[in-house]
């Protein structure tokens, strides 16, 4: 809608000679033509479902019988009577804080490491990058095996070293750290981004700092970091947005670790163990497609939308480079 009014304003702003007007009309048609696939997509897959989600958040609808208007009932239910909401929000926030921080720190660390490697660079770079490519379901199942208490190799070697053998995906206080470990394993994307950014830092600046007697930490603090801080910012904000959508790994880990598999006909208790891996996106699935409480699912979806868009606007503001003209 906003777009349409933008076009209209262009054409009515000033009286223009007919030839120019024809040209402009042609240009407008051309622009519209080029944009058309996405304009349709934007309407059908963004604006319509978003409005529809708002609509259903005020309805009682089980996907089978006709929807009934129930006012704010779904909203009050989710906020005050649905005990899993705050739990899911807490877990999501935990993941946002810990997982994003560790991913950025390790991604930057590995990126730095790669820039320092003199021998076997190709091998190391590939080794660090490869896990990022592992399909999430496959990677999660592999980790569930590696960390499986009693039978997994990690458990075995921890025991041999006399270290504690946590239950990982089976222990409510270790399940989120286990997911975090899985996320840190797949850090290849951040490594490449940071690596490119680090290589872009002008070497003269390092030389100058070195002449000035700056140690490695000072060089990082005063030369490297200021140069790459926009990239760090970018990594943090996109990381937050990705983590808000965190779904596949959490649900697969819970299902595989609990031994209850979605396909086997048994009912799965999401967030296993004890709701510790229960996140906002899973809540939309659980409410919408397991409980068939479409209205409440839409309430959670809108909350998820609001938080994600808040972070997106941060991204748009802080990295104005996102919107460069030419």
């Amino acid at each position: 809608m906003a777009l349409a009014s933008g076009f209209r304003r262009t054409s009515t702003a000033l009286p223009v000679p007919p030839a120019l007007r024809r040209k402009r009309r042609r240009e407008r048609a051309r622009t519209l033509g080029f944009l058309s696939p996405w304009l349709i997509g934007f309407g059908v897959f963004f604006v319509y479902p978003l409005l529809s989600t708002v609509y259903f958040s005020f309805m009682k609808y089980d996907g089978f019988r006709a929807p009934v208007f129930t006012g704010l009932r779904n909203w009050t239910y989710v906020f005050s009577d649905y005990p899993f909401f705050w739990e899911g929000l807490r877990n999501t926030l935990w993941l946002v804080v810990v997982m994003v921080t560790l991913r950025v720190v390790f991604g930057l660390g590995i990126g730095l490491l790669v820039t320092k490697i003199k021998s076997g660079l190709g091998f190391f770079r590939t080794a660090f990058y490869l896990p990022y490519l592992a399909p999430p379901v496959a990677a999660t199942i592999a980790f569930a095996f590696l960390l499986n208490p009693g039978t997994g190799p990690v458990d075995h070697y921890l025991g041999k070293l006399g270290l504690p053998q946590p239950g990982w995906f089976n222990d409510p206080s270790w399940s989120k750290p286990a997911l975090t470990m899985l996320a840190v394993w797949g850090i290849g994307d951040l490594m490449v981004i940071f690596m490119a950014a680090l290589l872009d830092v002008p070497t003269e600046q390092y030389e100058a700092a070195e002449l000035d007697g700056a140690g490695p930490w000072q060089r990082f603090r005063y030369v490297t970091f200021p140069n790459i801080s926009p990239i760090v910012m970018f990594a943090v904000v996109t990381g937050v947005i990705q983590t808000m959508q965190y779904y596949t790994q959490a649900i697969v880990a819970g299902q595989v670790a609990s031994g209850i598999i979605g396909g086997s006909g048994e009912q799965f208790e999401p967030g296993y163990p004890n709701g510790s891996t229960w996140t906002l996106p899973q809540m939309v699935y659980n409410l919408g497609f397991q409980r068939f409480d479409t209205g409440s699912a839409c309430v959670v979806a809108l909350i998820l939308f609001t938080i994600s868009m808040a972070f997106t606007s941060l991204l748009l503001r802080r990295r104005s480079g996102f919107l460069t003209e030419d």
Binding site: D62, G63, F64, R65, R73, N74, Y77, D81, Y82, P83, P149, G150, T151, Q165, P166, G167, N170, D171, G259, G262, G263, S264, G265, E266, Q267, F268, E269, P273, N274, G275, F289, Q290, R291, F292, D293, S296
Partner: protein, 452 residues
């Protein structure tokens, strides 16, 4: 007239081997006269293809159900069944609500907890008219608890298709070593035995008498609560967790047992060393625990896994105050129903009727997957597997005191709420039992109310 046809078929199947010619004749007659209300032309002998979705996935299970379907198709040559295996409740419900030509006509579910949701939403069709039309008296055909868990507020939207019963598994070698001669019948005997059977090793266990923690595979609150016969909901339909003393009694008993066996953290650490429940690494099969609460299917799994174990089964013990009810246990089972949106309900009903009421079909399927048969006739069938360890569960299923978790309009959500409270109580996060129960009851009522 219709009722004579049903019993006629039972007899006919019993004699099927010698009278195959008659079978063919009768089968023709059967399909010729059937007609149940809406839908298709299967009753007139027209070819109809129906879709049947079920959740079984193991080879022996799918093999057994396919064999039953093949016998059905032989009896009804004009009805063809397209079977889709390994479907979860979520998926079938999603498909049924979405509707459309590809949605299933006949569906099954392992989760009787969902019956309330299936019936109340009318996603599964009420089978009462079909039962009436064919003169089947449900009360005379199905065991009472199974009939109860397949209906919701009088709406019989599903029928039981084999059942599960829960009992006690115990390790006879460990019993002998600890000087225990017979399985415990009351919970105080049980607690004492569990302590006697526990052998420490370092700061862990070499052998644990029993794993009471709610995550200890089948040791779920609802399975324990059946030994008290808890009802979950009062006559007003509201959760009675806070007022029914048996719930607090169960939570207290379990918490005490945890204390006697070494405390929650120690047990939890041991629990996470367990192998998968449905593998040869099951802690009872490996000897890590000497007693376990489990379903009747374990009798078959122990044989399949060739575990070197001397074991036996008994009903799970009951609270001392209810000693006379010994023999009871938790019951549940698979249910099967017809899609409300199906356009081939007459043919679908023929399949449901065959699977759930044909004695031979029920018995052979029960033997194949070691489940409790779900008709009175099948429970009394001489063809039923006579293994004494399996028979324990047949007796539990027949016991009039055995109970199941009631159907609720929002499925098993109330059990999830109770489970969550259980986790908080056992770990010591929630110490005020009364307050916890009141909050959980409120949470359950709010969820039920939200689903209305």
């Amino acid at each position: 007239m219709p009722s004579s046809r049903t019993s006629g078929r039972t007899r006919r199947l019993a004699a099927a081997v010698s009278l195959s010619a008659t079978v063919a004749l009768l089968a023709g007659a059967c399909t010729g006269t059937d007609s149940t209300g809406s839908g298709d032309d299967s009753a007139n002998g027209k070819d109809v293809t129906i879709t049947f979705w079920h959740g079984w996935s193991q080879d022996n299970e799918t093999g057994a159900i396919n064999a039953n379907i093949a016998s059905f198709e032989k009896l009804h040559p004009n009805i063809h069944v397209k079977v889709v295996a390994n479907i979860s409740d979520d998926k079938s419900e999603q498909a049924l609500r979405a509707g459309g030509a590809d949605a299933p006509d006949v569906v099954s579910s392992f989760t009787t907890d969902n019956v309330g949701k299936f019936c109340d939403s009318k996603v599964w069709a009420d089978l009462t008219p079909f039962l009436k039309k064919d003169g089947i008296d449900p009360a005379a055909t199905f065991p009472a608890p199974m009939l109860k868990y397949s209906q919701f507020q009088g709406d019989q939207c599903s029928l039981p298709l084999e059942g599960d019963a829960y009992g006690l598994y115990y390790n006879k070698t460990a019993f002998a070593a600890a000087g225990i001669s017979a399985p415990p019948k009351t919970l105080s005997e049980f607690d004492a035995d569990a302590v006697k059977l526990t052998i420490a090793k370092g700061d862990g266990y070499q052998q644990l008498g029993f794993m009471p923690n709610y995550h200890g595979y089948e040791s779920a609150p609802s399975h324990y609560l059946s030994q008290w016969g808890a009802g979950y909901f009062g006559p007003d339909g509201k959760s009675n967790l806070a007022t029914d003393p048996s719930v607090a009694a169960m939570l207290t008993w379990q918490k005490n047992l945890i204390g006697q066996l070494g405390g929650f953290d120690k047990l939890e650490k041991f629990r996470t060393s367990f192998g998968d429940e449905f593998s040869a690494k099951n802690p009872f099969e490996t000897g890590q625990v000497a007693m376990a609460i489990d379903g009747e299917w374990r009798t078959a799994s122990i044989a399949d896994d060739k575990a070197s174990l001397d074991w036996a089964t008994a009903p799970f013990p009951v609270p001392d105050a209810l000693a006379s009810s010994y023999g009871r246990g938790y019951q549940t089972g698979t249910i099967v129903g017809i899609a409300q949106g199906s356009t081939k309900q007459a043919a679908a009903w023929q399949l449901v009727k065959y699977l759930t009421t044909d004695t031979d079909a029920v018995v052979s399927f029960a033997n194949a997957i070691h489940n409790v048969p779900s008709t009175i006739a099948a429970l009394n069938s001489p063809k039923l597997d006579a293994d004494p360890n399996f028979k324990t569960f047949l007796d539990i299923a027949r016991n009039p005191n055995s109970t199941t978790t009631p159907a609720s309009i929002n499925g098993g959500a109330y059990q999830v709420s109770l489970q969550n409270l259980g986790y908080d109580v056992e770990s010591g996060k929630q110490t005020d039992l009364a307050a916890g129960l009141a909050a959980t009851a409120k949470e359950i009522d709010a969820a039920v109310n939200q689903a209305k």
